[in-house]
Symmetry: C2
Subunit: 391 residues, 2 copies
Amino acid sequence: MAPTDSTKIVDSQENNEGEMPEEVPIGNKNFNAGGPMPFGKDMIDAAMGLQDLFNGFQNSQIVHTAVVLKINDIIGDGELAAWEVADRLECSVKYKHRDELVSNVSRLLNACVSLKVLKKTNASTYKNTVSGHLLKDNKLPFNDLFHFMPVLYRAFGRLAYNFSRGESNDSIFDDKGMLKLVEVKEVNNQETITRKFGTVMSKMTSMDAKAILQNPRVQNLLKNIDVCCDIGGGNGTLAKCLAKKYPSTKFVVFDKSFPINCTTKSDQPSTNLKFQSGDFFDKSTIPEAAIYILSHVLVDFGDQMGRKLLSNLHGCLKEGQSVLILEKILRDDKSGPTDVVLYDMGMMALHKGRERTKSEYFDMIYQAGFSKCEYISMGKSSKRDIILATK
Amino acid sequence: MAPTDSTKIVDSQENNEGEMPEEVPIGNKNFNAGGPMPFGKDMIDAAMGLQDLFNGFQNSQIVHTAVVLKINDIIGDGELAAWEVADRLECSVKYKHRDELVSNVSRLLNACVSLKVLKKTNASTYKNTVSGHLLKDNKLPFNDLFHFMPVLYRAFGRLAYNFSRGESNDSIFDDKGMLKLVEVKEVNNQETITRKFGTVMSKMTSMDAKAILQNPRVQNLLKNIDVCCDIGGGNGTLAKCLAKKYPSTKFVVFDKSFPINCTTKSDQPSTNLKFQSGDFFDKSTIPEAAIYILSHVLVDFGDQMGRKLLSNLHGCLKEGQSVLILEKILRDDKSGPTDVVLYDMGMMALHKGRERTKSEYFDMIYQAGFSKCEYISMGKSSKRDIILATK
């Protein structure tokens, strides 16, 4: 007997009453699922919102996988079928059965389409979307961000545990400037990860540096300065931009040893830029300067350590001189902007660092002895706002 | 000298030109970031979309943490300040310094506000949103889903690695019916996790069961049947609903040993329901029945194993009798619905199981010897559609 395909497609979406178990207590009411449409649009929206929150880690890992496999770079500006992508994958040699490889690639590409980092043509080939192009290995931070993701992914996996045990680490860096992260060895070796972290931070800084340097208040502050010291300046991304713009000022990048050693040959310091290692919690090792920069540094420390660092810098400055603090600030109600809140949770999972509101920064600055604070917002899409602390 | 607070708030969001590094290749063009507004709205949208995808795992873990700490249950129908929530937390005893506890709780609650699972009142107290109420420990699956999350979170953390090594496991269950999951011991013990998994699946099933049982085609199929066997029926959630509705039919839940033993006392089988353990890949152990149910079972296996299982059932049935398959199907273009695509990726991270389109299910069914296929969509919000395979 030949198969007969008597497909029936009946959309019973209208029938909502069977979708929830009976008597679910919501708020003060007991809804009975047997009644007529007890679940309003707001509850269905809320349920879908929770599903999105649950899907979050899955979405992140799908993009991470695409980035690790270089899917967006392989497709580039062209369009490729799943089997063509499969043949270009480095890991293709690991598969014993080609049909299994092509099947897996096809599933991954379709998942990328659902997340809009790829689009599918009518000919079942795949092209990069705008997001897909941004994900390619280029000067933007997205590729590095998703490459680096496993470290943060694991750290966030400890959020509930770390919260419950009531303890946290003082810093994410050890004494040699290496990233101290939970189980980091399994993900990759510590030096590679620390380097990657430097690259991500560096690209992030590049994205913000230009706007910051064009700010009139910052320009006014930096002109006619002898020495400017970037405290915790890592591989010197910001200092290099500054050194180029202000050739008659000397710039010192002051940090723990490793981030400095990790600068590559193309990053050689220019004549008015030098790297110096030391501990910024030990006042005696801090280089003399007429202005200090703290870019994304205070956020990595608790209030006590932050105050100590600011006090040290206060002690090094003359009256009227300033610390240029670059940090994204929390809204006064502390529940936004989203990126800042998430970063704050990341730090809660990792160490004693924290995000702060404008007034929390101001309090810390005044307590360290400074007499004047200024705040300049750099806008929603910038990762850093400006706070000026003047002695 | 008293501090003078000369705050300046200058929103320089308009100045977009400094936000991207120079010459970022996108598509076929090289954009020069020095030019006037080279980054259009679509690129800024794409960048924000990628940021959302990167934030995904962080959002998931924040909700997981809130659920583990029972935040939404503690707040209940009332409103509480951060310190009041802090005092009610089980883990409060672990904190040496109360101010650190209150500070951490406050940060977490604000993060929950940013994710809309809580809302903040003008008096700085916190209340449950509709999502917050759904997250409480109740008959809905959300609380269990987020409790159970670490297992899937870890599995997804292996997606890129598992993809690259070109190998996958045959099943997520071992021979004793225990969940075989990467590093599962660290998260929780295997039995607890397997039980939790059963609870999640059971609540999911409850949400769908009523609508499925009200479907006329299903009702027509189940009336006047002697014996119905639910293959891989776990703790019997679906079979219990059926046994109640069809008291003159005998129902057998057939599965590996553990999920059956895990039924609690309140789940005692009724007179027309029994549990039987065995291996559904061994035809000789499958109970005789006039109809078999495969609810969320085929999805856990590759095509070869799926065909074998269907062939076994085909061999047990008489002509005209059917297998009732309950699975959510992939769209024909395979890049949606989102939940199904994500589930497919989860299985790729875990084992050989996979989601399928309607025609892929039909192919598998015909290849197993069945002569007729029917498909009935149960709508967007149901986790299961209906496929009927008739001998």
